[in-house]
């Protein structure tokens, strides 16, 4: 099969030859033409088949003519210059950067454009006199870079990026380098006249460098320790803050009283390494959003129809302005933003966002439609029952689980250990101080502070951020994107995995279709192809896609019965295609089918000249490696399938999954949420694996919520992690790796404990020299970082194949 020159997809339905190149659709050809006529074919030299085949719908962006909406979207608007930023999910290679930054060659109204590749964003400056916002968006869509404009963009303006950690790290690093430099002569205690002369100056310089380190860079540790203490928790920041404080006070006391150089180098080094650990942990997948709610999927505006004095007017209004009773027009592939009643048109609503049910539901006028459904087919007119904010789907987000912060409740390993650690350190410090009080009272104070300094759990605090931060990166490379490092620790504790069915363990678009019955003749097949092509029904379309299309005869007579089927004829052949009720109504006997088959929810029956021929049955097709994955996971975990679908697939599914896997069907979004809650009450640690908005509540409630997504850029509700559907099979390995990372952390704890014990030996015996601290503290930090990095790299070798 030929590959499209523009997008690289297989040319399935038709192959367009143009300029000695093949294209899969006219959209791709158009893009090529546009680029070619503007001398922009360098696009294709940068990467092979870099394009995305464009899909634009008529009237989709009409709302961009509404002044109010334009105003909200524009970042800057004055005179001849307008600036706007768009999310463009289809940015994927360097060709995309090139073409998007050369947009000014496509239209003279565009002044400049800049792409932010990691965030998949473009910032455009244009002149609205020469190109309107709508035309700009249409231009982008036409060349295959359709921007994603949703309700989310309407509500919030870009917030400032939090860069305080980088500043703090910069300050600490700057001070660390300079202090090391200034304290170098005194490490060797050289009795040299000039160095002796200047050492006071050096010391006071070190002191002034350390001030911003303690009071700016290290500030977070003090506040965190204070907050922890106030709520009665001894977190890891308590001993750290204590260490920093004692280091600073003792060093200052030393230079004021002219006793020694102090430990400013260790102090700044400690803070620098700690912040480095935080920075490492702070890996963000900026092009993904883990906090999505319905707003990311809802349109900004809809078309309202109003009749005034017999005249019908259509206008684009902001979605929040819809009132009860407004008439709205929904086009093909558009989302219904509020609960409504169908007035006109053939509705075929795909509720897969909401219920997980994959097959579209037919509705006739007068039926109630719920928000979140997607219209498939022609234009429909609906009447709003409730404003957007009160509709069924948006109500789900008012549940308390969405406002609760999961992580605050989770006690991580570092904090568990630090509790005992703090007690031990304080104990040793006090005991040794008491001992020295009797033995040599002059040294007691020194020993007390020395113990607190050397025992500062810098290495322990570094172990987890570096191990987990590195693991996060490795997972990311393997297409599992986690929100933060705590998720890895949580994953290691999971004992129950709950799967959603549709879209999660079944592949989204690929229904398997089987034919059963008498074989169709060549003529019948040709007419079937022709009739299906003429039909807009989603089932017809998916059936049409799998049929052989050698010859197609265009039906001479074609009638579509809404919600039932098609009647079509060509010469003396008459075909009826549709549901079994449709067959029964035409008094065609549908043969009795075995119970197991009957349950399959979707089948298309065919009769020819009033003779029953057979039926096409649609199965869900399950993801590859499903059985193996379930077998692997079921060894030490409980598995549950929680589906919004009916139980038509129960039998087939139970043959695929190991025995003892519990299955629950017909679960509404609220049921799923409650189900998870009940399991948690029994003390289970739960991972929820889901995909749609219908799982959003369960995902938020569970300890770890993972979303399976075919296209990670486009769709995923609020969750803790996003897994590329292609890597579904590897879920088991991700579990294993999480468990092993916890082992790595524990080993590093052991390693850092050794350092602390050696250091303590020096400290307790009253021999802690600045040079000992200066060697031991960075050494322990650096070796922990090296150890965890190497260990995680070694562990992840298994994944990279």
């Amino acid at each position: 099969m030929e590959l499209c020159f523009h997008c690289g997809e297989e040319c399935q339905d038709e192959t367009i030859l143009y300029s000695e190149k093949t294209f899969c659709c006219s959209g791709c050809k158009t893009v090529f033409e546009i680029l070619n006529s503007n001398d922009l074919t360098y696009y294709y030299d940068l990467e092979k088949t870099p394009g995305i085949s464009p899909k634009i719908r008529e009237g989709k962006y009409d709302y961009l003519q509404n002044k109010e909406i334009i105003e909200k979207l524009l970042e800057f608007d004055h005179g001849n210059t307008q600036i706007v930023s768009f999310d463009i999910p289809s940015i994927h290679c360097s060709s995309c950067i090139w073409i998007l930054e050369n947009l000014h060659k496509l239209h003279k109204g565009i002044k400049s454009s800049q792409v932010d590749f990691p965030k998949k964003k473009i910032r455009l400056s244009f002149s609205s006199e020469e190109i309107s916002l709508k035309d700009l968006v249409l231009l982008l869509s036409r060349i295959g870079y359709e921007p994603n404009i949703s309700l989310d963009h309407y509500e919030e303006k870009e917030s400032d990026v939090d860069r305080s950690l980088i500043y703090k790290l910069g300050v600490a690093g700057f001070a660390f380098g300079n202090i090391m430099f200034l304290s170098f002569p005194e490490y060797f205690e050289i009795n040299e006249f000039w160095l002796d002369q200047f050492k006071h100056l050096f010391r006071w310089l070190m002191f002034s460098f350390s001030l911003p380190v303690v009071f700016y860079s290290g500030r977070d540790y003090f506040t965190s320790a204070y907050k922890g203490l106030r709520s009665g928790i001894l977190n890891i920041d308590v001993p750290i803050a204590l260490g920093i404080l004692v280091l600073f006070l003792r060093s200052t006391a030393e230079i004021v009283l002219d006793l020694g150089t102090g430990f400013y180098d260790s102090l700044s080094g400690l803070v620098f390494f700690l912040l480095l650990g935080k920075f490492f942990q702070q890996k963000t997948y900026s092009f993904l959003s883990f906090e999505r709610d319905y707003k990311s999927y809802f349109p900004i505006a809809v078309t309202r129809v109003s009749t005034e004095a017999g005249k019908i007017t259509e206008e684009q209004i902001q979605v929040y302005k819809i009132q009860k009773g407004d008439r709205i027009i929904i086009r093909n592939e558009e989302l219904i933003p509020m609960d409504a009643i169908l007035i006109k048109g053939n509705a075929s609503i795909d509720y897969s966002f909401v219920t997980g049910e994959a097959e579209p539901v037919e509705k006739v006028s007068g039926d109630k439609l719920f928000s979140g459904g997607r219209q498939q087919g022609g234009i429909i007119e609906i009447e709003a029952l409730k404003p957007v904010k009160q509709s069924y789907l948006t109500q789900l987000w008012s549940d308390e689980v969405f406002s609760k912060d999961k992580n605050s409740a989770f006690q991580n390993l570092t904090n568990q250990i630090s509790k005992r650690f703090t007690y031990a350190v304080l104990g040793i410090a006090i005991l040794s101080a008491i001992f020295w009080m009797f033995y040599d009272a002059s040294k007691a104070w020194n020993v007390f502070t020395a113990v607190l300094i050397i025992a500062c759990p810098c290495a322990i605090a570094l172990a987890a951020p570096f191990t987990l931060g590195n693991m996060l990166r490795i997972f990311g490379k393997n297409h599992l994107y986690l929100k933060d490092t705590n998720i890895i620790e949580q994953t290691a504790n999971i004992d129950t995995v709950v799967f959603d069915k549709t879209g999660t363990i079944t592949a989204n678009d690929k229904s398997k279709i089987e034919y059963e019955g008498l074989e169709l003749t060549e003529e019948e097949k040709n007419l079937l192809g022709g009739s299906l092509r003429a039909s807009n029904h989603p089932l017809s379309r998916s059936l049409y896609n799998i049929l052989d299309k050698n010859n197609i005869s265009t039906p001479e007579d074609f009638t579509e019965h809404t919600g039932l089927g098609l009647e079509t004829s060509y010469r003396d052949l008459n075909l009826k295609i549709g549901s079994s009720t449709f067959m029964n109504r035409s008094e065609i006997l549908v043969p009795e089918r075995p119970a197991e088959k009957k349950n399959e929810k979707t089948s298309v029956h065919i009769s020819s000249n009033n003779q029953y021929k057979g039926c096409f049955s649609f199965h869900n097709s399950y993801r590859e490696g499903l059985s193996e994955l379930f077998k692997e996971l079921s060894v030490d975990r409980q598995l549950i399938i929680l589906s919004g679908d009916n139980d038509g697939e129960r039998e087939r599914l139970s043959r695929l999954v190991p025995e003892g896997t519990k299955m629950y069907f017909d679960q509404k979004p609220g049921d799923k949420l409650r189900f998870i809650k009940d399991l948690q009450k029994q003390g289970n640690k739960i991972m929820m694996v889901g995909d749609g908005l219908n799982d959003a509540g369960a995902l938020a409630q569970s300890d770890v919520g993972i979303v399976i997504s075919e296209d990670i850029n486009v769709f995923s509700p609020a969750c803790d992690g996003i897994l590329d559907a292609k890597r579904f099979r590897d879920l088991g390995s991700f579990f294993k790796l999480s468990e092993r990372s916890i082992k790595v952390i524990k080993l590093s704890f052991l390693l850092s404990l050794c350092y602390n014990l050696i250091g303590l030996a020096f400290a307790v015996s009253g021999n802690l020299m600045p040079v000992v601290a200066a060697i031991l503290m960075p050494l322990s930090s650096i070796s922990i970082v090296i150890f965890t990095t190497l260990a995680t790299q070694f562990l992840s070798k298994k994944l990279k194949n």
Partner: protein, 64 residues
Amino acid sequence: MSIIYLLLAISVIVAIIFFIAFIVSVKKGQYDDVYTPSVRMLFDDELVKPDSENKQPLNKVKSE
């Protein structure tokens, strides 16, 4: 040897200048996107010339 005061002052001032430059560059967002500029600089500024062989047919089409 009191020159060391001057040298010290200079070295600290230089260090602080670099530090301020760092803070300013972070503030201006230079480190927000560290990938795209690295790709951007590899693009050739000039447009494709019709000299290479595989681009000949494209230009023929254009003139049609």
